[in-house]
Amino acid sequence: MSLATAPQLRFAGSLALAARQFPRHRAAMAGLLFLLAICLLTILAPAIAPYDPVQIKLGAKLKPPSLEHWLGTDHFGRDVFSRLIHGGRTSLSVGLLVVGFAFCLGVPLGLASGYFGGRIDNLLMRLVDAFLTFPPLLLAVALVGLLGPDIQNVMLALGLVQAPVLARMVRGSTLAVREEVYVMAARALGAGPGRIVLSHLLRNVMSPIVVQLTIVFSAAIIAEASLSFLGFGTQPPNPSWGRDMSEARRFLGDAPWMFMAPTLTIALCVLSINFLGDGLRDALDPRSWRTRRALQEERR
């Protein structure tokens, strides 16, 4: 980047600059808008759903999409659209809370492990190894079995399963960044461990964390579906994207809309989250910022 671009930059917090940068990422903006729309629909579900999502009407089963039932009905005659927006409440909150939990647990562990090294690192990483030796779903099943089949426990279990993966990854990035000259330079200027970890290490390992979290989000929605299928998560007849998707498999030939609605929604959400992750990663890393001029040239 040349000096000519400097005049646009004012003294502002780096987060404010990142926020200004973000909207330039078109895919990320599209993802954000899609997610906001979905969130709004699910939050307002009780008010806008045309039908009761659990009410069985055997007379209207397996109806294709129509003006009456926008996305058709399922094998019990329940309105798929109503189930979809109600189910989103479960699926999205599982996704968000698992991401939140994995972040709050995994990132500090990874940072501590990578920065302090030595015994702390050894201890934490052996613990992480122990968690990682189990197949993730089996571990989640065991944890939910221990805690009781409840949606909150599912979130907790999935978070516990994802946190070690994140911790391991954060540790790796931290180890690399820790050796950077600017970390030594910060120490030479009197920065203590707290400041180094928060303002130097965390900021520099944020990009891979954001990307990993988008993956955790998608994995959590899918895992909730599997757990529900096994009878641990959402209990029938309550809707959830994952549950409805796995139930719809049996009617794939007769009523593809039943399967397509939750599947496409999950796919689009995951895609949006990934775009959002890309945008966030770029916005958080000033080195990848594109200048206005570069953007204009790109559009031409």
Binding site: V181, A185, R187, A188, L189, P286
Partner: protein, 323 residues
């Protein structure tokens, strides 16, 4: 009393193949406002000496020992990590070799400058910002107010090193250690940076330890030089003395392998043959002996002791080199 007193500083690193003595029994003094050069080839222990003084060597794997390491009336060996942190950046500061990598790429230059000011000078946001602008102007960065919001990648190498110098001098330290601060820069920028450091430290009476393998830069800047080889100081003296009467085989070799531009006579550069010694093995004799061109019989019998050659000029060498 000297600003910095170093006696018997020894820094070892435990490795799989044995203990490396990176700094071996180094002693020197640095007066207030004095500019001391530290020369030697790569791996001679210059940087580790600096890091040991700043107490920045991580232990383990490192191990720093000294009979005395006092700075500004403080015993650095006795201070806790938290106490040393109060001194770093405030009373002693360091500039590193690679300006491309010594600034955090994801923080604005302003943030990195004000962080230090707020930490040590106890300034609030506004005052720190004002001071940061002044500092950038002092080190010759035009448009300072705007540049505060810029990121390191928007600066050239020379500009970044100016920023590093601004950060290092922001709290008016008594001692500035510059570790190969101009090595990564091209020659014209090098000269500018040297001039800048010279001017700023003279104005403020800051003592400087200038680490370099470039004798030309050292000659233009320093009052006194320590020549290091294999973790030891082999010769020490005022800059003129050392250049005119090199008294250690290594210093002689170093001068012989440096190009001169004064045009007095065209001569071939004579490189120092061989490789520096392995710092794991014990060295009972002079460490430079295998590569030395002026060695005498005594060199092969015992380790050389310091011999005085003039006022504050000494060398650990048996040979009589200078006329």
């Amino acid at each position: 009393m000297a600003l910095l007193t170093v006696r018997g500083l020894t820094t070892r690193f435990a490795t799989d193949r044995g203990t490396v003595r990176a700094v071996d029994n180094v002693s020197f003094d640095l007066e207030e406002g004095e500019v001391l050069g530290l020369v030697g080839e790569s791996g001679s222990g210059k940087s580790v000496t600096a890091l040991s003084i700043m107490r920045l060597v991580s232990e383990p794997p490192g191990q720093v020992r000294a009979e005395q390491l006092s700075f500004d009336g403080l015993d650095l060996m006795r201070l806790s990590e938290a106490e040393v942190r109060e001194i770093r950046g405030a009373r002693m500061a360091m500039v590193f070799q690679d300006p491309m990598r010594s600034l955090n790429p994801v923080l604005t230059v302003g943030r990195q400058l004000t962080e230090v000011l707020r930490r040590h000078a106890d300034l609030d946001r506004r005052a720190a910002r004002r001071r940061a602008i002044e500092l950038l102007e002092t080190v010759g960065i035009p448009n300072a107010e705007r540049r505060l919001g810029a990121y390191p990648h928007q600066f050239s190498g020379g500009m970044r090193q100016r920023v590093m110098i601004a950060i290092a001098l922001s709290c008016n330290p008594r001692l500035l250690i510059a570790d190969e601060a101009t090595t990564a820069l091209d020659v014209t920028i090098q000269a500018q940076i040297v001039d800048l450091v010279k001017r700023l430290t003279r104005e403020r009476g800051t003592a400087v330890i200038w680490i370099s393998h470039d004798l030309g830069v050292i000659a233009g800047l320093c009052d006194r030089v320590n020549v290091m080889y294999a973790g030891r100081i082999v010769e020490s003296g005022p800059i003129r003395e050392l250049f005119h009467r090199p008294s250690h085989g290594y210093t002689l070799g170093l001068l012989g392998s440096t190009p001169r531009v004064d045009g007095s006579q065209a001569r071939r550069l004579s490189p120092i043959e061989g490789l520096p010694p392995n710092l794991i093995d014990p060295m009972p004799l002079c460490p430079f002996l295998p590569r030395c061109r002026v060695s005498v019989a005594a060199c092969r019998e015992r380790a050389p002791q310091r011999r005085a050659f003039g006022d504050r000029h000494w060398a650990a060498c048996f040979a009589d080199i200078s006329p």
